[in-house]
Symmetry: C2
Subunit: 342 residues, 2 copies
């Protein structure tokens, strides 16, 4: 395997260096071909490394004096935070010193800065956020996009999301022609708003997309589609509602097993199963959303990610570097969009 260098926005997320530094160390232990650059306040990073009493030759520190806060206006972050850990981590991808960047920081700022610094691939109007979900078909996952990068998409954008999602799935999962579904509120032709109706037309006319038609919210997890496409507002609501539902059910399970002495004993017996379930319901297991459509790899981790979960986001970055995702998307988007006469 070739050497892979990835920059880490060490200050991003709810826990900053307390999570990003140990996650980086754990990755270096597992991947001998990976180099990581921790970007952020040198003092804080060094102090965290000292606290952990660990270090690694393939780990370097790149000092950045500023930090993008979680509630900062993205345009303001772009204008005023030119030496922020997030910005510098992306700059290093642009300059070729690294092949990917991972951040758990402010999603809007990450999107705006990435787009400004790295630019979109030729033929891509807007980048999209994509992540993977499990399905009831254990051998099959589903990717959904856009999850919040674009809040007023037009049909052409949804078409581009379909192209990018297909190429990503094809590259990472070795599926030749991934099945693409369009998120709608009904399976029948008669339902849906103008946006999805128009996008459905574009997708069904395309020779390059294996378009399977509309899918509803509850179809996402059925494994009938490999890629589900939607506007970013709808996708982000769906993403958060999935998290909320999982938290609600986890609460029910806990409450149920704590109810009385009998259920407490049952909980002990059922511990291995419950522990397995807990792992499956952990959103961190699937942590690491890609900002797709850029001339470079940017992975967004959940802001509240813990160490193993942030490490998963770094793994996603390594995988996309090794599979050469942006180049493949660039080539395919070029071919598909050209033939679709855009």
């Amino acid at each position: 395997m070739n050497n892979v260098t990835i920059t880490i926005d060490a200050m991003g997320g709810d826990y900053g260096v307390a999570v990003t530094v140990p996650a980086a160390l754990s990755i270096l232990k597992k991947y001998a071909n990976v180099r990581l650059v921790l970007v952020g306040d040198e003092k804080q990073i060094k102090s965290q490394l000292g606290f952990l009493r660990r270090n690694n030759k393939r780990l370097s520190i790149h000092h950045a004096s500023q930090q993008v806060t979680m509630d900062e206006l993205p345009s303001k972050a772009l204008r005023t935070k030119k030496d922020s850990s997030m910005r510098v981590a992306i700059d290093l991808v642009k300059s070729g010193e690294a092949q990917a960047c991972v951040s758990a920081g402010n999603t809007g700022a990450l999107m705006v800065i990435s787009r400004f610094v790295l630019r979109t691939l030729s033929g891509v109007d807007r980048p999209a956020i994509v992540t993977i979900f499990p399905t009831v078909n254990s051998s099959k996952d589903v990717r959904m996009l856009d999850l919040g990068a674009n809040i007023n998409s037009c049909a052409d954008h949804l078409y581009q999301f379909a192209v990018m999602g297909s190429v990503l799935t094809s590259a990472l999962d070795d599926i030749e022609t991934p099945k693409v579904g369009l998120l709608n509120i009904g399976e029948e032709e008669i339902k849906g708003n103008d946006l999805v109706k128009h996008a459905a037309q574009l997708l069904s006319e395309s020779k390059h997309i294996n378009y399977i038609g509309y899918v509803e919210g509850d179809d996402v997890f059925k494994g009938i589609a490999d890629v589900v496409v939607c506007d970013g507002f709808v996708g982000n609501v769906a993403l958060k509602v999935i998290e909320g539902t999982m938290q609600l059910i986890a609460f029910y399970i806990k409450q149920g097993f704590k109810k009385n002495w009998y259920s407490r004993i049952a909980a002990i017996t059922a511990y291995p199963v419950l522990n397995d379930l807990k792992k499956k319901l952990d959103p961190g297991r699937y942590n690491g959303a890609s900002l797709l459509g850029l001339q470079g790899i940017v992975i967004k981790s959940h802001g509240g990610a813990n160490t193993p979960s942030f490490a998963n986001a770094i793994k996603e970055a390594i995988l996309e570097v090794e599979k050469n995702v942006p180049q493949r998307i660039g080539e395919q988007v070029g071919i598909m969009l050209e033939e679709a006469e855009f």
Copy 2:
């Protein structure tokens, strides 16, 4: 308690009379003040009653020769199905022979026909679909609207949904000033699309709405808001995604407990807890969405509802009749909208 008469679209839903007839009988057994009118094919209804070998004096049959199919175009159903079980069931509410109607049929058709026959309350532009969800605060539920009646809402509509949702919650749950949240993709003022930003302005200026600001998808189940307001496209996706996530987790639980001999034994020990959980995750427990804003009560049951679940939808109708919901909404909407200078 006063007498309550409710019409049942006996042919609606995936199972028609096989579910609607036994559900009606179970309700009559529990509610001595309720009369039910089964509307639909007399032969089929009688045959089902004969099959069950049961009847009830407070149960009557109103023959209707047509049926609205699940995939029928709503406008076509309105035009051509004037003697359908759905249409006649609503007509009987309009004529005053019944105070509410329950149907598990085609949602779009039910909405279009209800609106045409019953008309909206003065001050309400569009009816909305509302239902109730549990939260992690066991003493608190949350109502969410619109869940699919309107796919291109404007800010005024979202404001009206907030008013209607508040009044309904106030009437049914005795909460004086229900907390209203607006579904968005970020908690901060900087996020969201133009629709939610404009609606947020209207809501925060209102003296009559206890507006608590933006809520994200994962906040819905936290019990921080009593009412969550959104556009129908987004709301319907959220509703279906909740169902899909619950199905996925139910699948995981089953799979986990069937894995090996140990987990199978654990499943036996944990049976009471798992059974309780199964009941809690059953979407039928909360079956019965209201079509709010009409001059009459119309309750939509899930199309795939089983007998106890369809009975829950009838219970919701009874409750709304007893609490005089449409009149209360009409009064409050009138006052609030007038003072808001609409």
